[in-house]
């Protein structure tokens, strides 16, 4: 079915590695089930975004270099995090643009865009009988253009919707605000906790009001924040990374 050839380096961002290994496992298993040659370089850590978004991209330089060193031997780098992928592509511009740096920046993909744009897989035939609200993580949506931001007057598209719309039993709920930010914002979440939490509460209320059982997203960071608020307030909602839904696929 898939004629793709090439070695894939799996990039598992630090907070997924430490706190949400199930998201990494789902991503890995999914790529393996597709018959791809995937490896996880042990020595990887982080893309450097937490420092850079706080203004310290100079401090992050070494972390960037490490990332490039870990992944430059692969044909593709795939990650279940739109935000980190965006960071590598957009902000590794401060490194000297060696062949390795250029290659890594060009070939790092978020999982959904990798499936759709590189593998041309849009229907895995998954079965997920639930009502799902899609949280459009901002860096994926507006940075990687995984979808058309609601501000724009372009033809509407959304990679996440495309991947989930053919799933059996899965009902995508409509939201009042289709792509408002959840308020995570990296270190914003700890340095501006009040607004951050308020934004998260409002997002959750939108999903709840419209009948979602699950909130899914391309970014575990948004989900970690939303899950923290859901648990604090005992809301009847669950969070699930899109890789976990896609990995329910039984070939």
């Amino acid at each position: 079915m898939i004629t793709f050839k090439g070695r894939i380096g799996l990039f598992i961002p630090c907070y997924i590695d430490q706190f949400y290994p199930q998201v990494g496992i789902a991503t890995l298993e999914l790529l393996e089930k597709l018959g791809l040659d995937v490896a996880y370089p042990f020595r990887q850590t982080c893309c450097g975004q937490p420092m850079a978004n706080s203004g310290c991209e100079e401090d992050a330089r070494k972390v960037y270099q490490k990332f490039v060193a870990n992944f430059s031997s692969f044909d593709y780098v795939v990650s279940p995090s739109g935000s980190c992928v965006y960071h590598v592509r957009k902000h590794y511009n401060i490194l000297e643009q060696t062949e390795d740096v250029k290659k890594v920046r060009q070939n790092t993909f978020e999982l959904c865009e990798f499936l759709l744009d590189v593998l041309n897989v849009d229907d895995l035939g998954i079965h997920f009988p639930h009502k799902v609200g899609i949280h459009q993580s901002c860096h994926g949506l507006r940075g990687l253009k995984l979808g058309t931001g609601s501000e724009l007057v372009f033809e509407k598209q959304s990679k996440v919707h495309k991947l989930l719309s053919k799933a059996k039993g899965l009902e995508i709920i409509n939201l009042d605000r289709e792509d408002e930010c959840c308020g995570f914002g990296g270190t914003f979440s700890v340095f501006q906790p009040d607004i951050s939490v308020k934004m998260g509460k409002d997002r959750i209320a939108d999903h709840q009001k419209n009948g979602a059982e699950y909130i899914t997203a391309t970014d575990t960071s948004c989900l970690m924040h939303l899950e923290g608020i859901i648990r604090r307030n005992n809301k009847p909602l669950k969070t699930i990374h899109i890789a976990e839904i896609l990995n329910t696929w039984k070939p």
């Binding site: 290994p21 996880y40 401090d59 914003f188 607004i195 939490v197 923290g228 604090r232």
Partner: protein, 455 residues
């Protein structure tokens, strides 16, 4: 000045009011969406507008000179002001030359920026803001909280109370039509009494010397036509090359600002009426410095539509006053650091970098990217808080070293697992103020992989 995060915390203490504020502005954003989606060519218009501004900024000096030449030909008196104090003095001199004491003013963010009102009032001049929202906040003696909707932070009941006190409207009356009627009556008198009318400027057309002012209330026209002297105040970035460019911007301004196809009034002022005087003051006040910064110069493309405020999820939930700068919201957060990085650098962090502002901006200013860049500048100038700066340095050390990273990761997971709740959710844990920490798993992905995929 308190930081944005502290001011936001105070704003958020009244959650129902925060929700009301958020919804009021979201409503404006939705109206904007409806209006722009009626133009299939919207994205092309944005690109065109951005390019016109780009070309103008690249040749700003000559367009300004061309404008000046045309304006003088039309019989307009042209003045230049390098900064706020020169501008204020210039306005006062014109007023005093005519022995005037009463001034009416239509909306102008530039005069807010230069604090013209208090300056004139100190010199014994009465200045009346004639835009309804501006008049409301002038009565309250506070700055605007939004550049297009200056009194958006106030509920109609509060305006009713204020008007009862200031204009003698019925106590408890809050019907907007009734209150507006009262304000009109009050302003009508002021218009008739005024000797001098001040306006802001939306666009200054270089090829004709025309000044274009967009309002919804017609108050610029009322002022200008009734007074003997008209003074138009513009920043140097307001000039556009040709009349035909104007159509691009007037199609975008009102749609972006309020979701109207066009502002109710688009007034073109070309020359003074017989026996009257027309002045224009062209103000720099830091703008040419921004022009000289390649990374930030396109913030000068701004047409002050306010769309980035309406769309900003942080602005909607913290209010315009939380920014502590004349121009609040995303655009204010990239303009203000030019003015004083130490004072306003914290505004670069008043954002999740969601990027909605850049998407909504009719002239395609890369607002969120400039915010990111200002953050780097804040750190480079050693203006980060010590705690942030040290924690980021430490994080970078750990994350540049695989072993250290795995060790710290494990320690964090264990700490979250075994610590008593009271210890974990302490004052330093700002995450935990409103959120639970993630439930730490027994193994990291890295550990799982080593066991399950050992080749």
């Amino acid at each position: 000045m308190i930081s944005h995060s502290k001011a936001a915390k105070i704003f958020l203490q009244d959650e129902p009011r925060t929700d009301w504020h958020d919804q009021a502005l979201w409503f404006v954003r939705q109206k904007r969406d409806g209006a722009v989606k009626q133009l299939p060519e919207w994205e092309k218009l944005r690109e065109t507008a951005s390019q016109i501004k780009e070309a103008t900024l690249s040749n700003l000096g000559s367009y300004l000179e061309q404008f000046e030449k045309q304006a003088i030909k039309n019989g307009v008196q042209v003045h230049w002001a390098v900064d706020a104090s020169e501008f204020n003095r210039c306005v006062l001199e014109i007023i005093q030359k005519h022995k005037a004491t009463k001034v009416v003013k239509s909306k102008s963010m530039l005069t807010e920026e230069c604090h013209l009102n208090p300056y004139l009032e100190n010199a014994g001049i009465e200045v009346v803001d004639t835009d309804l929202g501006e008049r409301i906040i002038q009565f309250r003696n506070e700055p605007p909280s939004h550049i297009v909707l200056p009194a958006i932070h106030l509920k109609k009941e509060e305006v009713g109370e204020l008007f009862h006190e200031k204009l003698g409207t019925n106590k408890g009356a809050s019907d907007p039509a009734y209150l507006t009627q009262a304000a009109r009556g009050h302003l009508r008198k002021k218009f008739l009494q005024a000797d001098v009318a001040l306006t802001g400027v939306n666009f200054a057309v270089a090829e004709t010397g025309a000044l274009v002012v967009c309002t919804n209330e017609g108050n610029a026209d009322m002022g200008v036509n009734a007074a003997k002297v008209q003074i138009h105040c513009m920043g140097i970035e307001k000039v556009i090359p040709r009349t035909k460019d104007l159509g691009v911007f007037t199609r975008m301004l009102a749609r972006s600002a309020t979701g109207q196809a066009v502002t109710t009034y688009t007034s073109h002022y070309l020359k003074p009426e017989k026996g009257k005087e027309m002045h224009v003051i062209i103000v720099d006040n830091g703008r040419s410095e921004i022009l000289a910064k390649p990374y930030y110069r396109n913030s000068l493309k701004c047409i002050r539509c306010g769309a980035c405020m309406n769309t900003c999820p942080v602005y909607r939930r913290s209010g315009g006053h939380s920014y502590g700068y004349t121009i609040p919201g995303p655009i204010g957060s990239i303009l203000s650091p030019n003015n004083n990085l130490k004072k306003y650098g914290n505004l670069a962090f008043a954002s999740t970098l969601c990027g909605s502002c850049s998407n909504v901006c009719p002239v395609k200013i890369n607002i969120h990217e400039q915010l990111y860049n200002w953050r780097q500048q804040v750190a480079a100038d050693n203006l980060l808080s010590p705690i942030k700066s040290i924690s980021m340095k430490m994080a970078a050390k750990v994350l540049a070293n695989s072993r250290l990273y795995q060790l710290f990761g494990k320690m964090a997971r264990v700490a979250v697992r075994i610590s008593p709740r009271l210890l974990l959710y302490n004052k330093l844990n700002t995450w935990g103020e409103g959120r639970e920490l993630p439930i730490p798993p027994n193994y990291s992905f890295n550990e799982w992989y080593r066991i399950n995929r050992k080749q």
